[in-house]
Amino acid sequence: MEYKLATLPALGPAFPEIILAVGSLALLMYGAFNKSNTARQVSIGAVILQMIALVVVAVQPLGRMETFGGMFVSDDFSRLIKILILLGSSTAIIMSIGYIRHEKMERFEFPVLITLATLGMLMMVSANGLISLYMGLELQSLALYVIAAFNRDNVRSSEAGLKYFVLGALSSGMLLYGMSMVYGFTGSTEFDAIAHVLGQGRPSLGVIFGLVFIMAGLAFKVSAVPFHMWTPDVYEGSPTPVTALFAGAPKVAAMALILRVLFGAFPAIEPEWQQIVVFISIASMVLGAFAAIGQTNIKRLMAYSSIGHMGFALVGLAAGSADGIKGVIIYMTIYLVTNVGVFCCILSMRRNDRSVESISDLAGLSRSQPVTAFLFAMIMFSLAGVPPLAGFFGKLYVFLAAIHSGLYTLAVIGVVSSVVGAFYYLRVVKVMYFDEPAEPFDQPMRTELGILLGISGLFTIFFFAWPGPVVRAAELAAAALLH
């Protein structure tokens, strides 16, 4: 046996992750060894940390880099998604600063756990093998289970955390079972090697079995039907900034992971997974549209809305083309930014220093806070897909891709459910503008919420004027994914 000195793997491609990992440990130490309550400083520190990571991601050179023995990959696709994730989770931390103080749950672990969850999401996006995929996914999920239950004295928050944990563990089990089957029948856990083996001949049934289980596990993470049951309860029970986080960054990360797995490891058996994706896409769109109609709580409404939006994004994936991937990325970008606006509005729904969450509480908002009401209405129109707002373009790209790939039925069902879904978004607008005014909310809105809402609203309204950067970045990412 010869003894070889191990060489240090190239750390450059994983630099943003290393910054987040080390930085979150430093924040943890700072919080733990300070006698006074440091939640606010740690929150600000976590936002700065994520911004630093974002800059590092942005200045990484173009092109594909692998490290850690091919387990970790950084390419144009992963970089774009990482920027989205970092934006999503840092805005969630900013939104939480005021909330956790009001609700008496101001503890420094909150931003630290969000940062660790973000680290998990970045690792998911850069995973180039089944094991690194699972590690990233589990790091993300475990941190999210804890922050769902963060308001531990509240029964509903604890229930949300427990429910999310139990169902999440079940989905992880399915994912692992599928991964073990794929490993058994292809002989590798690395995406490139799996793709190579599958490209050689007729795929074995074992691999398809494994693929189905993997898809079930991943569909749980994007809360696609039929694995959506946890979503409304967890969204409603979790503290509102946590819901804002759940609706944004983890969804983007999980969607990117699905893209990476399907196009990285299973491009050879596209017809097989296309059927699955078409089914969960249709089911999610339809359920998202119809189940949201009867909701009175705005957080539950947003839960069904996010189920529906995941269905729309999956339409692009079902197309299975570069256009489709581009559509998914554009859709997720717009979805993420719009969601920030929605949750800023929900967070500012406070009356007599208490949060209120029902849709009827919004009545008369157009008179007490005209600017907020206008931006909120625009965001709702965008979610419904009304042109020329941003949401319309997201839907346009995914449906075009589906039509180019000949999936006419899927596109038609998508358009129909989008029209049905428009009903409940417009109902919110109607309540704000035409219903008898309720007691106005506490004024003024917190500054940071106002700024985020403004940015989100302006992006939504003026996306049509300058869509170039987003579309070009998405094109680049799609090309990188299909390398």
């Binding site: 046996m1 191990a6 793997p9 994983a14 990992a21 440990l25 943890l28 850690f68 023995g69 387990m71 970790f72 503890r107 672990e109 630290v112 756990l113 660790l116 680290l119 998990g120 690792m123 094991i131 690194s132 590690m135 990233g136 589990e138 790091l139 475990l142 941190a143 289970y145 804890v146 239950a149 963060f150 531990r152 955390g161 490993y183 058994g184 029948f185 292809t186 002989g187 590798s188 090697a193 083996v197 599958l198 050689q200 001949g201 007729r202 795929p203 074995s204 049934l205 074992g206 691999v207 079995f209």
Partner: protein, 204 residues
């Protein structure tokens, strides 16, 4: 060869049977004991595969630590498990039926099973040739080099688990007595002990 086969079926059968007993035993303590039996037999299965390191870790970690912890929890928590599980066996026939249908379907599918060419080879030697190295040595060679990324990631996951446990359960209660080491150390003999001269036959 035949001995290995017999051993495999023996250990596998006991594992499955004790797994069943874990969920059907009336007494929760018995459940945990059957769980320990299941762990032991799973470890034996690993030994048959030649994975002695995993086998011993399974015994040490799961039997030595996890199962014993379970036992403590089961004994200390005042939960009426039989009430919790009431009606469980009622659902068993339906559950068993569903399981049976799944099994038959799986069997039908497995009938047309084809293994991809080259898969058998690729799976046989996931890391470089073992040679005469022991499991432990081989894991030592790759864990901190080839798999360092996963090793560190696992560390982060455990850290999150630890933070989570503390965040969700630790409460700083004000109304209980705490150990103050400075007071303990600063205590003098004169404060604590009083000498009494007890007269014989009178008591204190």
């Amino acid at each position: 060869m035949i001995v290995t086969t017999v051993a495999f079926y023996l250990f596998a059968a006991i594992t499955v049977a004790s797994g069943f007993m874990v969920i059907s035993a009336k007494n929760p303590v018995h459940s945990v004991l059957f769980l320990i039996l299941a762990f032991f037999n799973a470890a034996a299965l690993f030994l048959l595969l030649g994975a002695e390191f995993v086998a011993l870790i399974l015994v040490i970690v799961y039997v030595g630590a996890v199962a014993v912890l379970f036992l403590f929890v089961v004994m200390m928590l005042d939960i009426d498990f039989s009430e919790l599980r009431e009606g469980f066996l009622q659902y068993l026939p339906v559950g068993a039926l569903v399981g049976l249908i799944l099994l038959v379907e799986l069997a039908l599918v497995f009938g047309g099973w084809v293994i991809a060419p080259g898969a058998a080879h690729a799976g046989a030697e996931p890391v470089a040739a073992f040679g005469a190295l022991s499991n432990t040595r081989m894991i030592g060679f790759v864990l901190y080099t080839k798999y360092v990324y996963l090793f560190q990631a696992a560390g982060m996951i455990l850290l999150v688990a630890m933070i989570g446990a503390i965040v969700l359960t630790l409460r700083h209660r004000q109304d209980i007595k705490r150990q103050v080491i400075a007071n303990q150390v600063g205590r003098r003999r004169e404060d604590a002990v009083e000498m009494k001269n007890v007269e014989p036959g009178q008591g204190i």
